[in-house]
C-alpha cells in the first residue's frame, strides 16, 4: 500500500470511521493510516468540529471514536427503524451502578450493598458483555473481581469511567453526625 499524502490521511480516517460499527481507538486508526497518534488526534478534532452541525456527529465514546446520529432526529429515525427495547432491568442497573463505582468488586460486596443474591444478575451482565472479570482477590476463597467493560461505557454513552455521574458525597458524610444526635437522645 502506498503511503498516504497528508491531505489524504484525513479522508482515510473519515472513511475508516464511516465504515466502522464500533468505536475506533486513536491507536487503531493511527496504525491503519500509518501516522502518529498525535496527528490522528488533530484530525479527529478537526472532524469533530466539521460534523458538529450535521445530522450525525463524530463522538468520543468508550475510549474510541464513532459516528452517531444527532439525538434530536431520533423521532424521525424511529419511523424507519423498529427501535429495539434494550432497557436493562432495575436490578441489573443497580448492580451495574455498584460495580461501576466500586470496581474491582467481588460478588459478595455487591450482595452486601444490594442485600440480595447477585449470582444470576452478574452472570447475565457478564454474558451481555457489560462486565469483565478483573482477576481474583487474594483473600480466602479467592473471589472473582468484577469491573465494567467498554460495552458498558457504550451503553451509557460515556467516554470513560471518569465521566460517571458524581456520587453525592454529602449524604454519606452527613449520616454519622445525625445518627450521633439520635444516640444522645437515646442515652439521656
Amino acid at each position: 500500500m502506498e503511503p498516504l499524502f497528508s491531505a489524504d490521511i484525513r479522508r482515510a480516517v473519515e472513511a475508516l470511521l464511516f465504515s466502522a460499527c464500533e468505536p475506533l481507538k486513536t491507536k487503531e486508526i493511527a496504525e491503519c493510516v500509518q501516522c502518529d497518534e498525535e496527528a490522528v488526534n488533530e484530525i479527529l478534532r478537526e472532524l469533530t468540529a466539521f460534523y458538529e452541525d450535521r445530522g450525525f456527529h463524530l463522538e468520543e465514546i468508550a475510549g474510541g471514536w464513532q459516528f452517531m446520529t444527532a439525538a434530536e432526529f431520533y423521532p424521525y429515525l424511529q419511523r424507519f427503524y423498529q427501535p429495539k427495547a434494550r432497557k436493562l432491568s432495575k436490578a441489573a442497573m443497580e448492580t451495574l451502578a455498584v460495580i461501576a463505582y466500586c470496581q474491582p468488586v467481588t460478588r459478595g460486596e455487591i450482595e452486601q450493598i444490594r442485600g440480595v443474591s447477585a449470582d444470576s444478575i452478574v452472570a447475565h451482565l457478564l454474558e451481555k458483555g457489560f462486565l469483565k472479570e478483573l482477576g481474583r482477590r487474594d483473600t480466602p476463597g479467592k473471589p472473582v473481581l468484577y469491573g465494567t467493560s467498554e460495552k458498558f461505557l457504550e451503553l451509557l454513552g460515556l467516554k470513560s469511567l471518569k465521566d460517571l455521574p458524581e456520587i453525592e458525597m454529602n449524604v454519606k458524610e452527613a449520616a454519622p453526625e445525625r445518627v450521633a444526635v439520635g444516640e444522645e437522645e437515646e442515652t439521656l
Binding site: 460499527c21 451502578a97 444490594r114 454513552g157
Partner: protein, 253 residues
C-alpha cells in the same frame, strides 16, 4: 389485591424497606423501628399468603429488624464507676439502628445512581449508530482462500484430537443396586458350614470381588448367627486365623 401488584416490584429487602420508609415519611436517621418492623412483617405475611416464594434475603432483614427492635427495648446498662471507661467504650452505647441506617443510605445511593444510569442510557439510545454488518465482514474473506494452507491430514488429526479428548472424558457407569440381605448371607454361610464340618476359615468367606456392601452384610450375617447361637467361632491365638464351625459339629466334638 393492589398489594400483590406492588410486591413483585421489590428488588430486594432494602427496596421494600425504603418503600416503607418513604410511605411512612419516616426520618431515616430516626426510624420508627417498631412500626416499620410491623409493616415489613405484614408484607412478608402477605407474600406467603399469596404463595410467593419469599427469598431468604427478606427473612434476613426481618430478623435484623426484630433484633434492633429488641435491643432498643432493653435498658442500657452501665456500671457505677463510669469514669474508668472512655466514652463509647460500651458497644451498647451505639444506636442499634445506625448500622442499618448506613446500609440503607448506601443502598439508596446506588439506587439513585442506577436511575441516572437509566437516564444516560435513554439519552444514548436516541443516538443511532451504524448497524453491525456481520455479512460485510464475512465478505471481506476471499472465498477461494478460505481453505488455503489447510490439508486433509490436518483435518484428520484435528478430528483425532477431539476423539481422544472425548474418550478421556468420564465414562458413564451404570451402578446396579445389589440386593443383599442378611438372611441371604446367613443361608450362604450355613451352606458353606455344612459342607465343611472340619471348620471354615473366616477369610474364606470373602473373595476378591466382594464389594463393600457384601462385605458388611456378610459380617452382619455372621454377627446375627453368633447371636442366634448358630455358629461357633474360635480363634486359637491373637491375630490368628478365626475359624467358624457348625454348631452341631462342635457338639459332636
Amino acid at each position: 389485591m393492589a398489594l400483590s401488584i406492588r410486591l413483585d416490584n421489590f428488588e430486594g429487602p432494602f427496596d421494600l424497606l425504603c418503600h416503607l420508609l418513604d410511605e411512612n415519611q419516616a426520618d431515616i436517621y430516626d426510624i420508627p423501628i417498631a412500626e416499620i418492623t410491623r409493616q415489613y412483617l405484614e408484607y412478608l405475611n402477605e407474600m406467603s399468603g399469596l404463595d410467593l416464594d419469599i427469598a431468604s434475603e427478606f427473612l434476613v432483614l426481618a430478623a435484623t429488624l426484630l433484633a434492633i427492635k429488641t435491643k432498643m427495648l432493653l435498658p442500657v446498662s452501665r456500671p457505677e464507676n463510669d469514669e474508668e471507661f472512655p466514652e463509647g467504650y460500651y458497644e451498647d452505647e451505639e444506636d442499634p439502628r445506625s448500622e442499618l441506617v448506613r446500609q440503607i443510605l448506601e443502598y439508596k445511593k446506588y439506587r439513585e445512581l442506577a436511575e441516572s444510569f437509566n437516564d444516560l442510557a435513554e439519552q444514548r439510545s436516541r443516538r443511532v449508530l451504524r448497524p453491525v454488518e456481520d455479512e460485510f465482514y464475512v465478505s471481506l474473506y476471499n472465498e477461494d482462500e478460505l481453505y488455503k494452507g489447510f490439508s486433509l491430514e490436518e483435518l484428520g488429526s484435528a478430528m483425532d484430537r477431539i476423539m481422544e479428548r472425548i474418550s478421556r472424558r468420564d465414562i458413564i457407569h451404570r451402578v446396579h443396586r445389589e440386593n443383599i440381605t442378611v438372611d441371604d448371607q446367613i443361608r450362604l454361610i450355613e451352606m458353606k458350614l455344612t459342607s465343611s464340618p472340619e471348620g471354615l476359615r473366616f477369610h474364606s468367606l470373602y473373595n476378591d470381588d466382594c464389594d463393600r456392601v457384601r462385605v458388611i452384610v456378610l459380617f452382619l450375617a455372621l454377627l446375627e448367627m453368633i447371636r442366634r447361637d448358630r455358629v461357633r467361632v474360635l480363634q486359637k491365638s491373637n491375630y490368628g486365623e478365626i475359624m467358624l464351625f457348625p454348631v452341631e459339629s462342635v457338639k459332636k466334638i
